[in-house]
Point group: C5
Chain length 291, copies 5
């Protein structure tokens, strides 16, 4: 996630540069043909461009809202993982009477979830927080995070039976695990369900076509300064298109992603400090981007 504005703008301009260069070159070609050859078929009226333009803007605002909502839902679900991890660690003390190895396993759950969503191997980071038995039990399971949650539940039961915890208290802990399972499932839903083609690829295509006909409709009025006007309008549309593209995949390894590394670090700190154990420092942004 980009947290520094200057970095963000610079990056956005850089990303649009290719499209803009191509657009500018095309504009120049159009102007040259028009000014040198005076093709009469270029005398198009303004109507279609204006109508298509309005339609495109509206279309993309719907699409960008959708992409942003996906991103924000992903961020909110990760926030829910943080909250519930904290509450779980509190319940270990208040309802179960202390179980540091389960609180630590919950940190491992956060890391496993992050690994699963981005599709990277985080086994060392996960196993650092699991007891050897737990690590052995979840090995080879397709969905690591789900397996850890399951085994935490089983261990809570073991402790509850040993310490004669009342089933009402155990049920309350189990409900927290269900809340975590819901957050996990929501995150997996977002990852597994790409934004519908109709809202991702089609707008991109339409913007390209629009940029191609843009100078054609401007050149008879603007003449030699067409490239400037056309590129300016084109930038607006290309930028709108970039926004949606940036936000639609919140777990990819991109500077626009949800900062999962920083979030799991927050879980680590808060849960370790509750156990009075030494905790690492919070993650800092690197060159304006929080990983």
């Amino acid at each position: 996630m980009i947290v520094d504005r200057r970095t963000g703008v610079a990056r956005m301009l850089t990303e649009s540069l290719g499209s803009l260069g191509a657009l500018f070159a095309w504009d120049i070609i159009v102007v040259l043909i028009f000014q040198l050859a005076h093709r009469s078929w270029m005398d198009q009226p303004a109507l279609p461009v204006s109508l298509i333009g309005s339609a495109l803007v509206l279309f993309m605002s719907v699409r960008n809202t959708t992409a942003y909502n996906r991103w924000w839902e992903a961020r909110t679900l990760w926030g829910s993982v943080v909250n519930n991890s904290r509450s779980f660690s509190r319940q270990m003390a208040t309802l179960l009477g202390g179980a540091p190895e389960l609180t630590r396993a919950m940190i491992g759950f956060g890391h496993a979830l992050r690994g699963g969503l981005r599709g990277v191997d985080v086994t060392p980071e996960v196993q650092r927080f699991l007891t050897p038995e737990l690590a052995a039990r979840v090995r080879g399971r397709r969905n690591q995070a789900n397996a850890i949650l399951y085994e935490i539940g089983v261990l809570v039961r073991v402790q509850a039976l040993e310490r004669k915890i009342h089933p009402a208290a155990q049920a309350e802990i189990d409900r927290m695990l269900s809340d975590l399972a819901n957050a996990q499932g929501g995150l997996e839903r977002i990852r597994n369900t790409p934004l519908a083609i109709q809202f991702s690829t089609l707008p991109r295509l339409l913007v390209r076509v629009f940029c191609l006909i843009l100078p054609l409709s401007m050149v008879q009025d603007l003449g030699w300064i067409t490239p400037f006007g056309s590129t300016l309008v084109g930038f607006l549309f290309v930028a709108l298109d970039e926004i949606g593209g940036d936000l639609e995949s919140p777990f990819e390894d991109s500077p626009h992603a949800v900062p999962m590394l920083a979030i799991t670090r927050t879980i680590e700190i808060d849960l370790l400090q509750a156990l009075d154990e030494p905790a690492p420092e919070p993650m800092l942004p690197a060159r304006g981007v929080l990983p």
Copy 2:
């Protein structure tokens, strides 16, 4: 659900091809009449087309948002079925002390729900996961998924009485069944309530009319290149209309449907692995479409 972008765009173009061809043909006819006969009544001003166009775009963006929300709600409710199935399987271990036949029955519930929503017969897949007694009890019931959920609840009660499980724990499991009933009911609500006619058929009709008058208003300005301009604008509107149509029925047997087969397979894998039983492979997309 289409997961491959190239497939998606190709499919969208193919689906629009018929409409576009008809539109192009009509454009040619209009141009020929205009250029050869110079009918003076064709000299319409641009106003109505531009106004109707803006109105249509706005109308369809409302409608597409609505259709997309239906689709996404359906996907979210299926996600909720996945989460609650996992949590239920965990509760079988943590609160009930192990009940593999009930966890397996929950896999059957997912398949039965899928069958009911799409209106296909999934009896073999469902019964593979039910005990013979359970299979016998739900036979002939109108709503298979609801019946399985009901019988699971009854079996939980039997186990709870046998094993002297505390009623608080049993109530917690029952609440999970209520959450599953809510997700099921939500999915049935979406299937049983088609998108209001006003948001589905009317826009389609209006787009057709709009495409008919489009070349009439362009021809006096664009002349011989009218078909290109008119077809381009027409494609934008036809595509917007297609989007809504694709998304409004999320359970139909179409490439745009919610991937219920893949989702129930996920449930199968996660629940079987929790029981240490052999699990099938995840469903893979076939030619860009996840079934």
Copy 3:
């Protein structure tokens, strides 16, 4: 609720017919005056019509979204009544150990709620599912559905005391009754709170005024074909206005209403089948309309 598309479109056209006829007549009058008398004050520019038109479209899209959300919320709350009725019937078996008379009373609750929302007398249908004592107790109460829910709660308590059910289980059943009370209250809120005048009557008025000035601004350009152009644009606006009007009262006795009869029938079937009692057939649409 209209479930057949052809019926829906036919009905929509029929409903708009009066407005369209009046509009067409007015258009003809304007053209005749203009063509025969050439009143110079009719030479209005296009600006106000285009601006008013865009404003109206946007205004009505907000209003239609609001009306649709009301309708969909009503449908969702009825869905919630279905889900919770099913879960309640399951809890009668799982938490209370079987209480057919209470499950049957819950069917009565659905019917009473439907009667209260539409303002029709459903006493026979309700009482068919109540024991004589229960029927006697709720007689004369202003809010029948609420009274039935109250008395069900009291009867659950009686059974729970008799059978020595643990209070945790009884509390869980009581929570289900609270969920049903929430759904009922939400439905009553929608019925008792008409859509604000500003979003219902004002747009209708503005559309009428707009349709009156529409031909005035078109006639100097379109001449004799004004009625066709003006009626086409007018239809778009009248149709947009109809949509909101159709959806804003989801419980009225209209083909656009939430299909409460079909929904309560669904409850009847699912709850009776769970009791192994003979159940009626699902409600079928009559001439494209599900009642």
Copy 4:
């Protein structure tokens, strides 16, 4: 809340009358100056007015949506107070075994909440439903409704200890009180947080400025009929502005407010009837307005 459409439209026209009169007068002045003095600087092109107009409409549609959402959230939270009051009265019978004085106190809570939100003194209506001891305890507390809820909780505890009610049942009742506290807090949040200046006062200002320049841009085209065209467009914008203003303060003593008197009366009836006590009649609208 206005429940009669005719009243509503009449009221809306009356409220806009002042603005419209001023606007019409200004239009006349502009026309006179233009027609008599033919100031050349009045020959402005249409562009800025059309652009500003579209911008304003969009701006106000966002604002009106926001204002409407506030109003509807307020109505929904009051609905939640109704539902939870009913459920609380049921729980008094089902979980606590009957406590009429607590059910009556809950009616007092509704009245106290209404008084606090509107800022009026409702002490007599509140105290009519409280026992003398309870009335004495809440006297002098800043937040009457919150104090009553607190004391109800304390009295539930006293009863629960006396009658040996299981803590699980008492906890369930306490949760209902928490739900009521949430609804109360939500209502207070809406009252204490006026709609942001940017969404309330700024649009009003901009509409005024827009109405001032409107005739200036129309007069050279419309001539003597400018006042009619300009006032018509102006009315659209003034009406859009009125809508937001009407809805943004849902608890003020205005005909557009949430009908809190009728809602608390509903609570009164439903709770008294559940106690088999005589209940008043439902509140009726007075001259089209439900108080």
Copy 5:
């Protein structure tokens, strides 16, 4: 939070003054060049400005909606802290049998949360409400509010064990702490996740560019009065941009922030009065701004 309308408008105008002055100066320069030098390249048509303008308005309305939703979510979560603090204080009396030191610690939680969100040191205000032991335990913890919540949970457990409180009641209190943890986590999520660059900095940039080309497109029509027209349109866009900027950081030390001081004061009053302790006066707005 600005609660006085006059203050709000004055402030908004002041904040826009710099931008408006610069815009006005640029407008004057453009007019002078045009009128004195009659550069022919200044004869640009209106199309791009109108199209860009519509696009920008739509873009910013999406963005302002997003910023407002963030603000309102922040306010709602603080409202949730208020509600849950009240319910917690009630539970101390009803479920735990009185624990003034824990109710007081909850006031400290509110202050700590406020300090953490704004990044100011509130140690004295927090410690005033904590027992010395509790204050010592949370010292040095990175997340003060979370640490207080954790320790409150531990102290509830101690009391529950001492007084033989049933685990079901303790679990209910623990759930309230989880709700508070959720509200806290939600607030931290909003603070830690700035509005995406694409929705904050990009619009600001585009508005600037738009204001630069605005007079260029108006000057050939408006001549000497260009600065007035251009500045008026420019103000609309600058104001729209300001709105988003004001609302996007709800916890910063700005007059537009959520009034966290007033909210924590409300918690203080309500909780102290419930303990029959002397409470401070509610926070009053200072020069139209509630801190």
